[in-house]
Amino acid sequence: MTANKIRGPVIHVQGLEKSYKELQVLRGVDFDVARGSIFALLGSNGAGKTTVVKILSTLLKADAGTASVHGFDVATHPAEVRESISLTGQFAAVDEILSGRENLVLVARLRHLKDPDKIADHLLARFSLTGAGARKVSTYSGGMRRRLDIAMSLIGDPPVIFLDEPTTGLDPQARIEVWQAVKELATNGTTVLLTTQYLDEAEQLADRIAILHEGRILVHGTLAELKQLLPPAQVEYVEKQPTLEDVFLTLVGANSKDATSARTSKEHR
């Protein structure tokens, strides 16, 4: 990996296409992720977010286009890509029958690291799971499972971490715990690509946001840049910037009643 200490994007995706039989899920996806940043792939269910993550983590092959992670092409150098990444899938991929500690030791052994026990104890402490470390994971709450799941992804300090919908199905308290963990990752220099359908999650966490809709990236930029895409507020009495929610719903064409009524009530035009 030493040969790949290149500057420039740590994840580079160009013209990615993928179909499942008749269904075309990705129709040419392009984006770059800068080293050490948090990048959010925002989209509704079925937009193709998980497919992008699976291709980048070498679980799926793209039909067309190229993708590289940490300087390695995912199609031609999958083994090197797997050395450089960790994947936290959509559902907490933890072993329910093992204890939290055993889960961490298992991953440390599979990553061929020295002293798995020390690594496990350290991560249990970091994610406030020391007390629960010896308990079977089947007794954990949703938030604890997700924290363990993320802790497992950190073993071996991979430079790139994929988090696929890390807070789907979690209660608000657990979401905040996960957000805290993700923010800490980025401050330590890890590059994080996360997918989410929650707009506030992207707004809270991400340095840059890409909106994936019907297999294409509609827009791509910082939160401030995305906000500038809509005309600034021109309300007579109260000035109000469009929220990211407005940007998203306008771009993807909201058709739910809730969203429409929410927009009219804000009267920003």
Binding site: A79, G89, A93, L110
Partner: protein, 252 residues
């Protein structure tokens, strides 16, 4: 990638063996049906079946095959759970020898089935089973059963990888459990009507059962053992090729 194959397989084998030791109920569940058949046929039907030998001695080889057929349903089920829970994808996205994930399941299946087989043999011994077979004959029986377990385990890998529901993952084992009924496992084949008899005498269970029975009773094994080994190895190779193909398609 392959440089870590044995190390990774060992680590993952340790993981699934822990699953087995922490849920011994799965071993008990897989042995309940074969033991129930053993009790039912020895103490209820057996008196009316003329085999020319003590019925429990006659019956045990077939019951051992049923034990394996019922045990591999759990192999498929465990694999299915790993697929569904996402932990399979986690392993596949890690820098490990990819096939070790599958091999760990296969070896776990072998260990779990051997434990079940020992339990069933112990019950048979309590019921009066006896064999004058020496160490070599017992080892030969163990060898046949290990081959048979491996063959059925690789077969079980296919539904384990492809099933959509837990029932779908284990349903394939039902016909395998009932195959011994149309064989020499429970009754001698000579009283069966023509076509049934032709099927019974030419399906794999009969030759395997006859070979094990001959080994237990210290009879010359004749050609049965070669037919039995042929079936086991043939099935093993075919199931392995199909399972590996399925696996490669699943992991891209």
């Amino acid at each position: 990638m392959t440089k870590h194959f044995f190390g990774d397989t060992t680590v993952l084998l340790g993981r699934s063996l822990r699953h087995i030791t922490r849920s011994m109920d799965t071993i008990i569940t897989t042995t309940i049906m074969p033991i129930a058949f053993l009790l039912l046929f020895v103490y209820v039907f057996g008196g009316a079946i003329k085999t020319g030998t003590s019925y429990v001695n006659y019956l045990l080889p077939g019951i051992l095959l049923i034990t394996v057929a019922s045990g591999i349903a759990y192999t498929a089920f465990r694999l299915f759970l790993d697929m569904k829970s996402g932990i399979f994808e986690r392993f596949q996205s890690m820098p490990i020898a990819r096939s070790s994930v599958l091999w760990a399941h296969v070896l776990t299946s072998l260990v779990a089935n051997l434990i079940s087989l020992v339990v069933v043999v112990l019950v048979a011994l309590l019921m009066g089973f006896h064999s004058g077979a020496g160490v070599a004959a017992w080892l030969a029986v163990a060898g046949i059963l290990i081959l048979f377990t491996l063959a059925l385990t690789w077969l079980a890998v296919i539904p384990g990888l492809t099933a959509k529901t837990p029932d779908g993952a284990s349903a394939f084992s039902y016909p395998l459990i009932f195959l011994p009924f149309i064989s020499s496992a429970f009754v001698p084949t000579d009283t069966m009507p023509g076509p049934v008899r032709v099927f019974a005498e030419n399906q794999p269970v009969t030759s395997i059962v006859n070979a094990i029975r001959d080994l237990f009773t210290q009879q010359p094994v004749g050609t049965d053992i070669w037919i039995a080994l042929g079936w086991c190895v043939g099935l093993l190779v075919v199931a392995y090729v199909f399972a590996m193909n399925t696996y490669r398609r699943k992991i891209a």
